[in-house]
Subunit: 145 residues, 2 copies
Amino acid sequence: MIYFEDMEPGMEYELGSYNVTEAEILEFAKKYDPQPFHINHQAAQESMFGGLIASGWHTASICMRLYVDAILNKAASLGSPGVDQLRWKRPVRPGDTLTGRFKITECKPFRPGVGIVKGTAELKNQDGKLVMNFLGQGMFGTRPS
Amino acid sequence: MIYFEDMEPGMEYELGSYNVTEAEILEFAKKYDPQPFHINHQAAQESMFGGLIASGWHTASICMRLYVDAILNKAASLGSPGVDQLRWKRPVRPGDTLTGRFKITECKPFRPGVGIVKGTAELKNQDGKLVMNFLGQGMFGTRPS
């Protein structure tokens, strides 16, 4: 179990990889982001993106899944107040494989038994190109005494 | 069709409402944010949240759906470079009804034929309490001449 005391600025975590299928892009977008370039082949082809791309919120959710599997579900996670500077840098397309990374930038006590950890999360595609990054923050419990 | 020229700072849009079911909270979280307090009744009950709550990324995705239905799919939308200051203010629980609002704060030309619009998006629950807000930005086409 990872506690607040186990984390410090500069630590980096590999979050593993996620293969993004066309079916999943369509399923997510039909529910949460039904813009033509996310759900309609023809419209996507004619758009500035030249083909179907994943919703940016889908990409962020995929990053979260990798982060949960690699860190949060092995840690004393107590939720998050939010994120900053979320940027969608490049389109995510059907068949892309996204690989995540998280680097801690700041750790500070919040209240007795709880600390806040901030860090940059990023996803790169199979060509090593950055597709998304953001500055995340999470609350973590301290080690039981 | 809404073009860049049709938007200006101070304009406000009601985005409508969305009912969040327990089934949808579980479905989203099992895929993208499988932390115990999002997917396990017992663990959620014993957590600081006192019961199941929606993933913050699910809440953001619901806001996006309202925004797409109310504005983007009626506008010359060209995607978004990202969002800032995303904050999850209160837990979203099964049965909650979330109502969205978007207020334009800034409009500026980006390149010929395209402008950037920034604004604050927010979701309140059925008690009128803020559950999430962020500063969004989107690119929009100008009116064809």
